[in-house]
Symmetry: C2
Subunit: 312 residues, 2 copies
């Protein structure tokens, strides 16, 4: 741990950011360029936001990276899981990558990915705590169980290369995280993996090895998500599928604004608001509460949101 390690993480986030942008641009096939914005944060740091809108495949996709540092109220630091109870004032450093892609077609699922590295230092600058967090999850509108299986299987393979406990633990963690508790515990999607507070010693791995794991997750979408986009991209759909997609996106908005800790952290620490809220869909609906007929694709999708073992 130290400046050298931190700089290597910053570089790897930067490289992952370029890769992720290239992946989305390639999957989009539209020739529409990302709009890139560089922003700086009062109090330290800044980031690069890349946004694609009205693409051929993606109605809206955002890929952001940021490096932010500053002073953190100990209360907020503790909510983030930092081991800093003795500190009166904590300094924080965080660098991360976030990706959210909202496809136009309801047959193509929405995907989200985030990886981040946190450090907490005392006022003298000495690092007191450091950890990785992240994850990726899939949010389909149309129920294709085989897509969920593919996504989870690819994640399991990636996780297994680093530690056999990772996939089962992080998959369960994800099932417990992306929940609209105010909607009878309905899940945002079919999950994936979610992890946080991975410190040196986690599963016997040093911070270097955890970095390698997180970097692998940061580039997993080309195999976990790319093939799903390719096989659903040209599937025809109608107005009913589109309307259901807009309603599901309403639930996505609810989760992100009411429950998501990352969004909350962004709103409270003064990150660039357009980047914090880039995860919101381009268009979302709140139709009157419908009753979906048993066996309809809408009812089958809702059943698919119940957590289950997608791979053995």
């Amino acid at each position: 741990m130290g400046a050298e390690f931190r700089n290597r993480v910053i570089s790897s986030i930067e490289r992952l950011h370029h890769q992720a942008t290239d992946l989305i641009a390639e999957l989009d096939r539209g020739g529409v360029a990302f709009r890139e914005d560089h922003w700086e944060r009062e109090g330290g740091g800044g980031g690069v936001s890349r946004m694609l809108t009205e693409g051929a495949t993606f109605e809206k996709a955002g890929v952001n990276r940021s490096v932010v540092e500053g002073v953190l109220a100990p209360q907020l630091a503790q909510r983030l899981g930092a081991h800093v109870s003795a500190l009166e004032e904590a300094r924080f450093f965080v660098t991360g990558l976030s990706l959210v892609a909202h496809p136009r077609s309801p047959m193509v699922p929405t995907v989200h990915l985030n990886v981040r590295y946190f450090e907490i230092a005392d006022p003298s600058g000495e690092i007191r705590d450091a950890w990785f967090g992240g994850g990726t999850d899939l949010t389909p509108t149309y129920p294709y169980p085989e897509d969920a299986v593919h996504f989870h299987r690819t994640l399991k393979t990636a996780c297994d290369r680093h530690h056999p406990s990772f996939y089962p633990r992080f998959k369960t963690w994800c099932d417990h995280y992306f929940v609209n508790t105010h909607r009878s515990e309905e899940r945002r999607g079919v999950g994936g993996i979610f992890f946080d507070n991975l410190r040196a010693g986690e599963a016997g791995l040093c911070l270097e090895r955890l970095h390698a794991f997180v970097a692998e997750i940061g580039s997993v979408l080309s195999s976990a998500y790319g093939p799903i986009v390719e096989r659903r991209r040209h599937t025809e759909y109608g107005e009913r599928e589109r309307q259901f997609q807009l309603a599901r996106r309403g639930r996505y908005v609810e989760f992100n604004l009411v429950h998501d800790r990352g969004t909350l952290f962004g709103l409270q620490t003064g990150a660039r608001i357009e980047s914090v809220l880039m995860s919101l869909p381009p268009l979302a609906a709140w139709p009157p509460s419908p009753a979906y007929a048993p066996g309809s694709f809408e009812a089958r999708l809702l059943e698919m949101l119940e957590p289950r073992e997608w791979v053995q």
Copy 2:
């Protein structure tokens, strides 16, 4: 204070609910009926939700009343402003009316109204605190300053009949309440009035007189909002106005899900979720952050959101 007073408030909320439904139905002119749902809450109480969708004037309008009672964590009671620090367990009773109307035309402003009566009792049932709250506010998409003036003038006239301090105080309170603090303090709309924790003795008025005030606010929309709908209903508009309306509705969603205390209270106390979230617009958008040309109607609307004295 007591069961007799409480019952009179319940009756008046019920009467206001019918009036409000009739007003929206009449303003809609579409002949589309409200869909009515009666719901009960586990733990005590229930309500009546009336929802109009795809009307001639209103894309979505909800008018709800509820009577809810139960046990409240003292922490939550204190956040509501209750004077109950000595209680270990508080019982609460609340009855209220909520109305949100989202017009289809961007030339017609969205309106919101709420009135409510709260009681806090100790475990033996003795009432320890009681107060009224409520308010109404206007959220235009298209900048017609004369509509804001009409709305505020009508509210001032209604308030002045009860106490000269009410309009100036409650107007300022409203300006400070409906704020997207995470969006550089941008206001949700052009305001109106907002008040809470009005107890017996407020401005020298007894609870009976406060009830009369709140009942007047509960029926103010026929004069405060009705004429605005009538004069804007047939104004033509284009796709640009519609797109701006959807983006403004995105901000409406952000306020309600991130900041609104009433929504938070509903989500935490297990009220019927469809009723709590009936305030959300039927359709909302998060377009890429646009720069509006100086003098454009969009820029003029944003200027109109800056708080000011609409009536002298």
